[in-house]
């Protein structure tokens, strides 16, 4: 999978729950927190992005649904 697509794929998975606008902004915000831009998310720093997204997602949709979404992201980005 092309590295460039990873950030978009994460946003796409999040958008099911948060809508496309919030999903895009969330990826941008939390990618920034790990020192990258959305376009710089690769398979190498994806686990860090997932860890950064977890607390946000737990607040928005709860722990169990968050684990499901983040698990799906990790699986589908492989």
């Amino acid at each position: 999978m092309s590295d460039v697509v990873v950030g978009d794929l994460v946003a796409q998975k999040l958008s099911v729950h948060l809508g496309p606008n919030v999903a895009r902004m969330a990826v941008k915000t939390f990618a920034g927190k790990i020192g990258a831009s959305s376009a710089e998310i690769t398979m190498a720093n994806l686990p860090q992005l997932i860890d950064a997204l977890r607390p946000m997602l737990v607040v928005m949709i709860g722990k169990e649904p968050s684990e499901a979404v983040l698990g799906e992201i990790a699986r589908d980005c492989r």
């Binding site: 958008s15 729950h17 809508g19 606008n21 919030v22 969330a26 915000t29 946000m56 499901a68």
Partner: protein
């Protein structure tokens, strides 16, 4: 079931409740009407309490942020249902019913505030412009004050005259805070459009608008020449039904979304 269908179902249910109530209430004897109204209000409040309890339970009650909000709504609507029953059973306002109203109103404020500040708690506060949020909150605060002004003044005077307990002021003051929080709820729902969480925020926003109608109808109806006793009661019950049915639908949507995600984990 799709969340959009749930929202439509909530709208249909609220319409049926209001229509049925209008038809049934006319046929009842005057002595029965207060008991009927208490019964209807208690049932609607219990509907929210059960739905909120389901959602809270799904999120471990106070363990998770989402669970805390639904625990507050569960407590709030349970207290309010208890106050209805106590007031009817004792034939008037008692300390016990007042305490239930105070606890219920405080819990609604906390629950609504928790949902309204979800974006802040999640670290997504940059999503909505600060200026837009301040302006929208100021506008909703002004509307809230306009809707609750009469109730605050009447209860304040009654308290000073010793006719009411100071606790009577808690309900309209809590309403002002809850109604002012409709701005962040609405802006969050708007930002979330296209996602599942949108429906939870949109249903909660609609439910809060129902409470605004319930509280403000006494002022709005006479202003447009609709000041008969029947119309005022029908408007207030409509607001009550919209609030309860839509907030219950929000809780059920939250529960359903989490349950589906849980099933996806189990299958995966």
């Amino acid at each position: 079931m799709k969340f959009r269908s749930l929202a439509i179902l909530a709208g249909v249910a609220a319409t049926i409740v209001v229509t049925a109530d209008t038809l049934v209430y006319q046929t009842l004897d005057r002595t029965v009407r207060p008991f009927y109204t208490t019964g209807l209000r208690t049932l609607l409040l219990l509907l929210v309490a059960v739905a909120a309890g389901l959602a809270a339970n799904r999120f471990g009650w106070l363990r998770e942020y989402v669970g805390r909000a639904w625990t507050c709504f569960f407590a709030a609507y349970s207290f309010l249902a208890a106050s209805e029953v106590i007031r009817r059973a004792t034939g008037g306002t008692t300390l016990a019913s007042q305490l239930c109203v105070i606890a219920g109103n405080i819990a609604i404020v906390i629950g609504t505030a928790l949902v309204a500040r979800s974006f802040n708690a999640a670290g997504l506060d940059a999503l909505t412009s600060r200026t837009r949020m301040v302006v929208a909150t100021a506008v909703s605060l002004l509307i809230a004050l306009a809707l609750c002004y009469d109730a605050i003044v009447v209860n304040f005077r009654a308290t000073l005259a010793g006719q009411e307990m100071a606790s009577a002021l808690v309900s309209p003051l809590a309403d002002v805070i809850t109604f002012a929080l409709i701005a962040p709820l609405f802006l969050s729902a708007f930002a979330l459009r296209g996602g599942q969480v949108f429906w939870i925020f949109a249903l909660l926003t609609t439910g809060t608008m129902g409470w605004m109608l319930n509280q403000g109808w006494d002022i709005m109806a006479p202003a447009v020449g609709l000041d008969t006793e029947q119309i005022i009661r029908a408007g207030r019950i409509a607001g009550f039904a919209i609030a309860c049915v839509f907030i219950a639908a929000a809780a059920f949507t939250q529960w359903l979304a989490a349950r589906r995600a849980g099933q996806a984990v189990a299958i995966g």
